[in-house]
């Protein structure tokens, strides 16, 4: 029996007049990697940002429908957005560590949620850096600027920052698009491992990456969810003609 972590029901989203998401119904299983693919502007990042309500920061947007996290609608009035974002973490396309030390980057989430215990902070920072497979590279330089790290290391630091506050879901918005192949491979491997603890949703442009890391795949086009299912099925026997066209490179 598959347990679904995030379920959307007839989710619609507008930027002003622009109807960016149209009647999206998707059920994301727990402790799996679900990838959302599609051409630029198809709404995949918008959908991702509905899961932690980061779209709230944009003026003039409108949401209709439901996004259920463990069965509860995160767009209901009584929802605590700050608590939601604690449960649903995010790693961005543009690698964006804070202009602080490596330690403070990871400790940031803990501190803003009220953790003041130094020993506990140190433990959590170490565990998070280990989980993000970067501990060995930074353990000697925890108090140096995060900007001394390479791009790939910075992205793994951002992953450590996201997992430090122990979210249930981690959203990845094209996490490798700015990285070299070796760094990309490391992050893909990491995502594989992270699904033991977290439910992962990843947006990507890269079809090979999609095939490598994901258990489930959603294909989106022009704001619609065209097809959703097990990755191997989507890649070997897509039901929809449009999915097939995209996968075979007829457009995209």
């Amino acid at each position: 029996m598959v347990k679904y972590k995030i379920v959307t029901k007839e989710l619609n989203f507008w930027y002003g007049e622009n109807h960016a998401l149209k009647d999206i119904d998707i059920s994301i299983p727990e402790n799996t990697v679900t990838a959302i693919m599609g051409p630029s502007g198809c709404g995949k990042s918008t959908l991702l940002r509905c899961f932690n309500r980061l779209n709230d920061l944009v003026d003039g947007t409108q949401v209709k429908g439901e996004v259920l996290l463990d069965g509860e609608d995160i767009y209901r009035d009584s929802m605590d957005v700050f608590l939601l974002r604690r449960r649903v973490g995010m790693v961005f396309q543009k690698v964006n560590p804070f202009p602080k030390t490596i330690f403070e980057n990871v400790a940031y989430g803990l501190r803003i949620h009220g953790c003041k215990d130094g020993a506990k902070l140190e433990d959590r920072v170490r565990e998070s850096l280990m989980d993000a497979a970067i501990w060995d590279e930074v353990k000697a330089s925890l108090h140096k600027s995060a900007f001394d790290l390479s791009g790939g290391q910075q992205q793994r630091l951002c992953i450590a920052r996201a997992i430090a506050i122990e979210p249930e879901v981690i959203l990845f918005d094209e996490p490798c698009s700015a990285l070299d192949p070796i760094s990309t491979a490391k992050i893909e491997k990491l995502i594989e491992e992270l699904k033991q603890k977290f439910t992962i949703v990843i947006v990507t442009h890269n079809m090979q990456q999609e095939a490598r890391v994901s258990d489930y795949t959603a294909f989106m086009l022009l704001g619609e969810l065209v097809e959703f299912g097990k990755t191997e099925k989507i890649f070997t026997a897509p039901k929809d003609k449009r999915t097939e066209n995209y996968l075979t490179g007829k457009f995209g």
């Binding site: 932690n52 980061l54 920061l57 700050f82 608590l83 939601l84 974002r85 604690r86 973490g89 995010m90 961005f92 543009k94 964006n96 560590p97 804070f98 202009p99 602080k100 940031y108 989430g109 501190r111 803003i112 949620h113 600027s145 900007f147 951002c158 920052r161 996201a162 506050i165």
Partner: protein, 282 residues
């Protein structure tokens, strides 16, 4: 032909820089040569004596320091908070534009007008009298636009990615501003503070009616005391008194001390800014 024009252009650029440097150093050398004649430890540590024809300028140094520090204590928090409001919280273009026009207008007001305002409001209406407090408040208003502009620019220059990363971790707007935006903008804010302090220390007109006194034997005891200040002391030496033979050299000495004081304050602030930048290069 084109080559010639280019050479001419470069020549014009070089000459301009040369002109700027020469006039700058001319001022510095002129003030230094004249000022150094009277400058010694006693000059810095003694009050004026015998109708300002002898002695030092200690009360004026202390007075100028008090006013600079006082005005920045008042203007920096107010200016930074206003800048944060403008950059992060203010909704509606028209409101922001109205506020900005107001700030720019404030920056264009001649400083003697601030002096009159300070006299009417702080000295008379609030009853602070001619005092350090009144002078600091007046100077504070004078340097507010500088600080708001610099701080606003610094806050706006903080990449949106940092804010998003903070929100995505469950931070509120205020936490994000306080823990991410402000520390990142700090070097730019300090630049505004540097410019503000420099201006506050050198202004004469705003303190003419609000803080400055012609002569004071001792040092001020509280913020309600009036003070001597360096710029006003120069003015007094050059316009009052009966023995210009003694007073003019002292005026040059005072000018040199003022120059060094402003440069010193700037230097400290620049070091602070460099440190802040080094701690968080990005």
């Amino acid at each position: 032909m084109r080559r010639k024009k280019e050479l001419l252009g470069i020549l014009a650029i070089r000459l301009s820089v040369l002109f700027v440097l020469v006039s700058l150093f001319a001022v510095l050398i002129f003030i230094s040569l004249n000022g150094l004649k009277v400058l010694n430890i006693g000059f810095l540590l003694e009050p004026p004596k015998e109708g300002m024809t002898k002695g030092g300028i200690l009360p004026a140094i202390v007075g100028s320091l008090w006013l600079s520090v006082g005005s920045i204590c008042f203007a920096l928090p107010l200016g930074v908070l206003s800048a944060i409001y403008l950059a992060e919280y203010a909704k509606g273009r028209r409101l922001i534009r109205v506020i900005k026009v107001g700030i720019n207008a404030l920056a264009g007001v001649p400083s003697v007008v601030f002096g009159l305002f300070g006299l009417a409001v702080f000295v008379k209406f609030f009853g602070f009298g001619v005092s350090i407090l009144s002078g600091s408040l007046t100077l504070g208003i004078l340097i507010l636009p500088t600080i708001i502009r610099a701080s606003e620019e610094a806050v706006l220059a903080v990449p949106q990615d940092f804010r998003e990363a903070s929100f995505a971790l469950g931070a509120s707007k205020w936490l994000t501003v306080r823990r991410v935006v402000l520390p990142t903008a700090l070097p730019g804010i300090l630049t505004g503070a540097i410019l503000g302090i420099g201006r506050a220390a050198g202004e004469t007109a705003p303190i003419l009616f609000t803080a400055a006194t012609f002569y004071q034997r001792g040092l001020p005891h509280s913020i309600f005391d009036e003070v001597m200040t360096l710029p006003y002391h120069i003015y007094a030496l050059m316009t009052e008194g009966a023995s210009p033979k003694y007073q003019v050299p002292i005026a040059y000495g005072t000018a040199l001390v003022l120059l060094l004081l402003v440069l010193g304050i700037n230097l400290v602030a620049i070091i602070m800014r460099t440190r802040a930048r080094r701690a968080q290069k990005w």
